[in-house]
Homo-oligomer: 789 residues x 2
């Protein structure tokens, strides 16, 4: 088949909202003001774990300028992002489970007054013993944070086995066991959380919120407030950074909605930066144990992987997070046998959730560092060790994941060549090092978070007789450029300028459901839905153009604002004229499109987080200097290659890739969410938390490897998350190359390097825990579920 010629796709066009953002015209949630608007604040627990004896709001409610005070009894309905873990309350009803857990909400004429009112709320807490670590969570058998959890504070424990583990380890020449720890960290978007709710005089509720998932917020508001979804409108305002942190429905969103219903006024809440550190739902701290069997030549025989996730006080996306820590180990290198055991525990800390890479950067760190060590032990170049056993295109992994296209080999070869790997590896002087790692990531999940039987994305398109095209879609632009992606797809399909496309997204009243901006799903899912909708309209336009031009439909194309003959391009009519003629013939022109990924054969529980339309692949080489005296690391350069399928827009893919590198460097070198024994965050401010600035950001060389994925829109796969993954282990491997110590803990800080150099860095301890007997799954045979004893 002849390669399609694109006029928009693949071009480095600016984002459609670029000018508005540069000019300061974009209105974020906190930029919105409504007449008669009042302001809310939440009273948050100072205790990590306590029972609520009583709350007295009379004094606060009596303050002049206070419009309403609500507590847990006003919003008792539990909620949660995942159907089986509905364990949150908008405002705590019986217990608080972390410092920052909200117990009351106030609406007042100003933020200052609302804060003053908070001080007048009297809460009688019965302080309970708190559970602050994974180990405590597993051993505090009778001190349960949630009454419903299975054993001690284990929210979920899972065990899955694929292939013949026994045979795998038996056939191995060497078996390596290692432990790792990846500390938690947060998303740190520039825009804090902000929501405005207005319950109108007609009884309908409108909520404007900085959210990645307006549809999930929509249904949660309905559940908690007891209003039909048809009476609620959620508008996702432009998101000033999300990275997963705005994917849950939040207490503050539900509280302002209730406060507006109580007062009849628009109610706004903007969380402080300190609150944002507590509210975040960021990266889980994960302890990992990994046992890998290899042949003398480095061929992988079997891997047994165990993860313990410190979930914090509530479930959030935790169920998916557990599975994610086990799902993608198989996607880069051929692995004939694989066993995964994972557990997520509750602790009295802010709940963790999805952050860029959702559950996969932690195991990828462990796997890639261990492989680097194995290669060294076997005396093989770590890149060569990988190259000999890469997953193949159109193959299926032992855990049933279908790999369509892969540019992994090209990614490896390109970074190696650009970085002059062969010249540098193990040949740089002490204090300078180079490290490599590879990874894979999903392009959206195969199953939505709830209900199998619904499209993951839907769009509706309207053609105007003036030539304007409007696309309506529930997706949200969180800065990643998904609005632009929609415009580019529509422009490509109709052969018009992206400026002729108006994109309306993230408004549950106006737009069809899209599940939201997470899991790197938008480009692929809404892209495919968009192409489907365009196709329905193009059929009509081609019919009309064919009649007018006397050209068979299959010889027609849309390009340069024309509908024209492919064979005789001079024979054409303008797009606008064609639309008008089609409207005359068919009536008002509009169409819907939707997309659900193909059904996948991996049918075991939890398989939904693995299957996707396609896997992206990333490789990174990091060159750095590590000061042997201070342990200080200075990254000199990062080479990053990313197989994004077709680069929808290379400028955007590069931006996503560089953003991923930047975020990975923050995680690997400095960022961590750390808590005192009192449950208080140690560093809840941007000054102390630290995150790389431009000064700490090295030169990044981005190499886009374009495969043409058959399931992706125009061949696209994901770009927003995957490139974060290899950078973290590549830094760890480069540190070893520089100073000869292996750091198995993220972040890799100077003091850890010094302690390691001095032999004082203790190995990571991983708790012992009796996992349930594994579900065994074989391709074609299905799952063998162990009998409950």
């Amino acid at each position: 088949m002849k390669e399609r010629k694109f006029s928009v796709i693949g071009k480095p066009l600016p984002k459609i909202d670029a000018m508005a953002k540069c000019a300061g015209e974009t209105l974020y949630a906190d930029d919105l003001f409504f007449s008669r608007m009042i302001y809310a604040k939440l009273l948050r627990s100072p205790h990590p774990h306590a029972r609520l004896r009583s709350i007295s709001t009379e004094r606060a409610a009596g303050l002049d300028g206070v419009y309403a005070v609500i507590t847990g009894k006003d919003l008792p309905e539990k909620f949660g992002i995942m159907p089986s873990t509905q364990d949150e309350e908008a405002l705590a009803v019986e217990k608080v489970r972390y410092v920052g857990d909200p117990v009351a909400a106030v609406a007042a004429s100003s933020e200052t007054l609302a804060e003053k009112a908070l001080e007048l709320i009297d809460v009688d807490y019965e302080v309970l013993k708190s559970v602050l670590s994974i180990e405590e969570a597993l051993t505090e058998v009778d001190n349960r944070i949630h009454s419903w959890n299975r054993y001690a504070n284990v929210q979920k424990a899972v065990s899955l086995e694929f292939g013949d583990m026994e045979k795998g380890f038996e056939g191995a020449d060497h078996i390596y066991e290692d432990t790792f720890f990846f500390q938690g960290n947060t998303h740190l978007p520039m825009e804090q959380y902000c929501t405005i709710a207005f319950s109108g005089p007609d009884g309908k509720l409108s909520v404007w919120s900085s959210t990645q998932t307006p549809h999930y917020l929509h249904r949660t508001l309905s559940k908690v407030l007891g209003l039909p979804m048809s009476r609620i409108r959620v508008v996702a305002t432009p998101v000033g950074g999300g990275f997963g942190g705005k994917s849950d429905p939040f207490s503050h969103e539900l509280s302002v909605a209730k406060l507006s219903m109580t007062t009849g006024r628009p109610v706004k809440i903007t969380l402080t930066r300190e609150e944002s550190f507590y509210v975040h739902r960021g990266r889980h701290p994960v302890k990992m144990w990994i046992k890998t069997g290899v042949k003398n030549d480095g061929t992988l025989q079997a891997m047994h992987f165990r993860s313990f996730l410190d979930g914090g006080g509530y479930s959030s996306y935790g169920l998916a997070s557990v599975y994610y820590t086990g799902a993608l180990q198989t996607v880069t290198y051929k692995l004939p046998a694989y066993k995964f055991e994972g557990a997520r525990v509750f602790t009295n800390k802010p709940p963790c959730g999805p952050k860029r890479g959702h559950g996969t950067p932690q195991p990828r760190f462990a796997v890639e560092v261990q492989l680097d060590e194995i290669a060294e032990k076997l005396g093989i170049d770590p890149i060569d060790l990988r190259l000999k056993q890469l997953v193949e295109p159109n193959s299926e992994t032992v855990n049933g994941l279908r790999i369509s296209t892969t540019g992994l080999r090209e990614c490896i070869e390109k970074v190696a060549a650009k970085a002059e790997w062969k010249k540098k590896f193990r040949q740089l002087p002490f204090g300078r090092g180079i490290g490599f790692a590879a990874s894979a990531y999903i392009s959206g999940a195969g199953l939505p978070i709830y209900w199998n039987e619904m499209p993951q994305s839907g769009v509706q398109i309207k053609l105007d007789r003036g030539g304007g095209i409007t696309i309506f879609c529930g997706s949200t632009d969180i800065g990643q450029g998904s609005d632009s992606i929609l415009a580019f797809a529509v422009a490509e399909e109709f052969g018009v300028d992206p400026a002729d496309v108006r994109v309306v997204t993230g408004d549950t009243d106006l737009t069809p459901v899209d599940l939201g901006s997470y899991s790197s799903r938008v480009t692929v899912m809404t892209g495919n839905a968009t192409i489907q909708a365009c196709g329905k309209l193009k059929e009509m336009l081609y019919q009309v153009a064919g009649e007018v031009l006397e050209v068979p439909s299959d010889d027609l194309e849309m390009a340069e604002g024309q509908v024209r003959s492919i064979s005789y391009p001079a024979r054409g009519i303008s797009f606008v004229e064609c639309v008008q003629k089609a409207e005359a013939k068919f009536g008002t022109l509009g169409a819907t499109g939707s997309y659900s990924p193909p059904k996948h054969p991996a049918n075991y529980k939890g398989s939904g987080v693995g299957p996707t339309t396609a896997y992206s692949f990333s490789t990174s080489i990091v060159e750095l200097a590590c000061d042997g005296e201070t342990g200080d690391i200075k990254i000199d350069k990062v080479w990053i290659a990313h197989d994004c399928g077709r680069a929808f827009n290379p400028l955007l893919v590069e931006g996503q890739t560089e953003g991923s590198v930047y975020m990975a460097l923050g995680e690997v070198l400095m960022e961590e969410q750390v808590f005192r024994k009192s449950g208080l965050h140690k560093i809840p401010s941007m000054l102390e938390y630290k995150s790389p600035t431009t000064l700490e950001t090295p030169e990044i060389e981005t190499i886009l490897v374009e495969t043409n994925d058959p399931e992706g829109p125009f061949g696209a796969k994901e770009a927003g998350q995957g490139p974060l993954l290899p950078v973290i282990p590549a830094v760890a491997n480069a540190v070893y190359d520089a100073v000869g110590v292996r750091i198995h803990e993220i972040p890799i800080t100077g003091d850890k390097i010094l302690r390691a150099l001095e032999g004082r860095l203790k190995p990571v301890s991983v708790p012992s825990f009796e996992f349930p007997p594994p579900v065994k799954w074989q391709p074609g045979k299905g799952a063998e579920v162990p009998q409950k004893s």
Copy 2:
């Protein structure tokens, strides 16, 4: 066929925006504020007719706080609502044609400063002789307001002949000739004109305006500004009354758009009440001559009708207005022969355009008063005279208009019974009188104003899996309740509560094209488009429900939030569940619908203003007191019967009917646009112009006569304009019944009655004018166009 049972249609439900309006939450254009917004003012000509020698804007532009000053040279492209009369300029280029004609526009940091800047613009006018009356317009052969008009200041002269006029008059026992004058008046909505424009940093222009016709504004902005329609968004803000006065694209709309493009800032203009009196586009002053032949028994034999419209300085909808003064005389009573001659002239006064009833209240006044006189002369009760010759259902008039349903007879009989006509007519004491009149009106025009080959209305619908339904439509709610009509239609079709329906209208980016809120077209046109779109979706829902319920599709209905078996109503699933299942089966659920009226056989030029889906019929009886000493009139009671087809919502129809009566009383008793020799409006303020207040508004008894029109949505016809028509002649006829004088001039003021009582009221003079030879049209034979000599 069994009569369909309705659950929403026919119910007196409140308007969907009622609560928001009552609570003051509705945001009209002037309620909108944008950051960095600046304010515009227009410099208007103080001369009725002058040539522009030069305009100097330097001093104004130099004033601190002035952002831009523009003149005609910045917007030279001519425009006009009708394709063949593009005679307006946003700002005058060579000439000004009425006092108030804009010559320059200023944008400044405040309205006050903008006004100050206007004073600093120096305009050098060459004052020309002005043309201020119909007579002057016809005789000032060489003093042409527009260079392009055909003869003197005649914009358009038309002559049409139907049936055998010669035979008609020959067969008549009596021939009556009369002259009439209907003075011009204005719409006087509570909300003045207001527009905000913002040319964003991405080069796209958004315009928020209080307009009845966002689509026409859209294309006019494109033409005048030279921007593609795809880069312009027009949002019709909630209109605080239009009545036809906000149907044109206006200078102020184009000027603020240009000012925003010049300054990069949002620019707002709100016209003062005085400006609104000049800008208005209201009722044409019309002089009429009517010659009618009747048999001794009152049977109409032939009618020759002539109208002269005083158009003011520009064409506006004038071309349609001329035809409208001649089109509907045939629609109430059988008329075997009819000739119409009409001319619209330019004068140096503010241009006239469409006002409620557009061109038909004036001739209806003449016809109904003359019939009253004929009945008296023949000694026949005027109601009996009419009853014997009413048009029949499913008939065609001599000028080719198709009458489907008519409730005219019932309307007559019901008002007569309610008002106790037989007991009162000619039997009330001197000073008290009763009068009757009847009328007909269109339900939207058969042809759009431009382009035959397009739907007149289009809608797009989206179903949300939460049960919410959104309908997108380009129509505008001008207070008449069209948004509610859409919600009711959707709710009826899907068997849900109107509160589950979100209505998005009048936004060229979001909504399919609807031609606008004029010609009483919205209920019928968008109603039909809505039913079509709903039908497409219902088909899918019925298919799914049929499978689930095991019920054949033709035994299914949607009602009470259920999709259920008609035979066994207990067998059903909820609408929400059905939507979810249909979404799983078919993908994202949305559909378009559109409507074009059936093609009509009357194919002569100008026939487009007559054909419609259906005619509404109205009758009115007015009982009043007229003081023989002062001429003062006090209306005691108005009975109004209106055949609206099916009453979509009786509360809304009654509201429209009562509003029509109120407006008719203003027109017949007090309101007039009158100008000094200088071209200045005599009374451009609400204090002096006068309009009935609640104190002058009598008891109104509204009788809805429901026919079930086959072409109407759920059987509906129009309601918004028709009921105005009979009230005016009914008052005139009641005045005669009270004090014995015939007043042939509107408004009927006390001084005219006194002059008439004293024999000093001069008959209306109608100018002589040589009309072109008539186009003769016969049903089935087509038009016979006279050869040009």
